[in-house]
Symmetry: C2
Subunit: 199 residues, 2 copies
Amino acid sequence: MPPTSPTLTAERILEATEEVLRRHGPAKATVVDVARALGVSHGSVYRHFRTKAALREAVTKRWLDRTTDLLAEIAGAPGLDAETRLRDWLAALFAAKRRKAFDDPELFATYSVLTTETAETVVSEHIADLTGQLTAIVRDGVASGAFTAADPSVAARALFRATDRFHDPHYAREWEQPGVQDDFDALVGLLLRGLRARA
Amino acid sequence: MPPTSPTLTAERILEATEEVLRRHGPAKATVVDVARALGVSHGSVYRHFRTKAALREAVTKRWLDRTTDLLAEIAGAPGLDAETRLRDWLAALFAAKRRKAFDDPELFATYSVLTTETAETVVSEHIADLTGQLTAIVRDGVASGAFTAADPSVAARALFRATDRFHDPHYAREWEQPGVQDDFDALVGLLLRGLRARA
DNA sequence: CAGCTGACAGATATTGAATTCTGTCAGCTG
DNA sequence: CAGCTGACAGAATTCAATATCTGTCAGCTG
């Protein structure tokens, strides 16, 4: 049962934790389960993570960072005008969240729980990362004369807030309803109209 | 203890229910409590409301309608241009929710629970009412040449969605943080810019 | 006889005793 | 001696027995 043991590393613990969470769900996943999956005693897990909460936080961060990295590519895409990048970025964020929620509802529910329990540190950093990417796009747009915005970072926050419904897990159950894509397109259209510089 | 009994009416039951909910909270408020507060047997309550869920739904509707009525006055205010009414309306919605959340946190939490449990019927009607008011304002703006919008009702939905963060109870805990008013103003500014007709 | 009561069956919630889990640490092992 | 183990205390969770609540209805009352 216990798999081969090529030295116990934080990374291997995180992988095992993700697997245990997927199997048992957030309510029943225990540190002992994680240790068992790795073929070690649970004391060893505590050598790498001071508390169970810290372990869950690290796993959550990993998960959120995967989305951040994906979007960073779009934010920094070369040769595209700011408006296209902004549209693509917002669409990619929505698509990524929707895909996660649809493809593996159990795991998505698990991470929804994790993000509410770790709210303060990890999630707000994640949001800061994302609005940072948005700020870069808006700033480019202002520089190229495509957008008007007194303060790009303020505009970026406003964009992120305005689209909450399309990326906050709290609204996930609405993402499968018929008209969502139209609602999303209408909102993005309105926001871009507000951002565009006047002729 | 039992108060004077001037015939048992649905309205009196709703008042008593609200009081019981305020006292005991949503988890512990029972139909028997409501009956006791009215000095009747709980069987009598079931004469007016088929189930406990129906009673809670009716109380929730009452609560939501109070906000709807308040905003209807602004939506229909005579002699004000559409942009001012739209600004006022959105500000009034945010202010009303924030006031409720701040003045009586327990009751607000109670109704937050009620709205999630009765989600489908009552709440979606409430949202339909509100976006209906928004649609009327946008339509007026289009008619007067102040706004551009292919379909006012689509624009109204987008406006309502975009401002979710400032009226959905789910975000209530963020309404007391320092920068919220600025965030709100920035978002409304961006949305109005998007709505305004070009010169 | 319209409106109310209160006893009742089944569903739901509460309680506390027993189990399981978290986090520590003295000592084992390679 | 760095890294791991496993027994342990206190915290948290489960589970089953017990109590309370919901919804009904036959019959009482004004």
